[in-house]
Symmetry: C2
Subunit: 124 residues, 2 copies
């Protein structure tokens, strides 16, 4: 152990400096696929905005329509609708139509769990 020697990576051109090749290789082995990283980061990302976080936290407890959410958040209905589309695209919320009103609710138990873990975080 102790001090480490710099080594190179990536074959021929060898531009990259590495101090702990073993750790880099370990990280490479343990990493999940690029596709899973994309999916996972897009889920965190959609929660990474105060308005959207409030949306899912509300939908975790009760079904709501666009204008309810808009009132709750102090946002335009259009803005809320745009955000809800992103949730739908990721299949994180589902919608149910009753006449003119469309009710939104959470459609992913893992997201609810992510929220719970997050809430534990801030309540300490």
């Amino acid at each position: 152990m102790g001090s480490a020697k710099a080594k190179c990576l990536d074959g021929d051109d060898c531009q990259v400096r590495v101090i702990h090749l073993d750790r880099v290789e370990q990280a490479r082995r343990e990493t999940v696929s690029a596709k899973e990283i994309e999916r996972l980061s897009s889920i965190y990302k959609i929660l990474g905005d105060p308005s959207r976080l409030k949306i899912v936290m509300a939908l975790k407890n009760v079904e709501m329509c666009v204008c309810d959410l808009a009132a709750f958040l102090g946002l335009t209905e259009s803005a809320v609708s745009h955000q809800l589309r992103r949730f739908r695209d990721l299949a994180l919320v589902k919608s149910r139509r009753d006449g003119q009103v469309i009710y939104y609710s959470l459609d992913d138990e893992h997201v609810a769990e992510l929220l719970n873990v997050g809430l534990e975080h801030v309540s300490e």
Copy 2:
């Protein structure tokens, strides 16, 4: 129950349309503070980028220096350093200096838990 009447919110000017006032009020009661929403969304946000997600997933298992991470990610050391600063600002990673090398590691068990829940999500 059944169909609902639109009501108004926000006192005097009463611009906002609401269909289910009870649900909006319930959401208002159950929401966490603005400060906690800010903190929580900033944590999700920092995980909501593929490169940063890989960084924390790597650091979950092993201590790494900037140039190791850069090699692992295929990014510039400068880019990695910039991202690590954001993690430090949120107190999510800690660093330890050994000579010229600075070792980074996760500094928040909740974040590790968030990652575990996320990994369960994609592995199904």
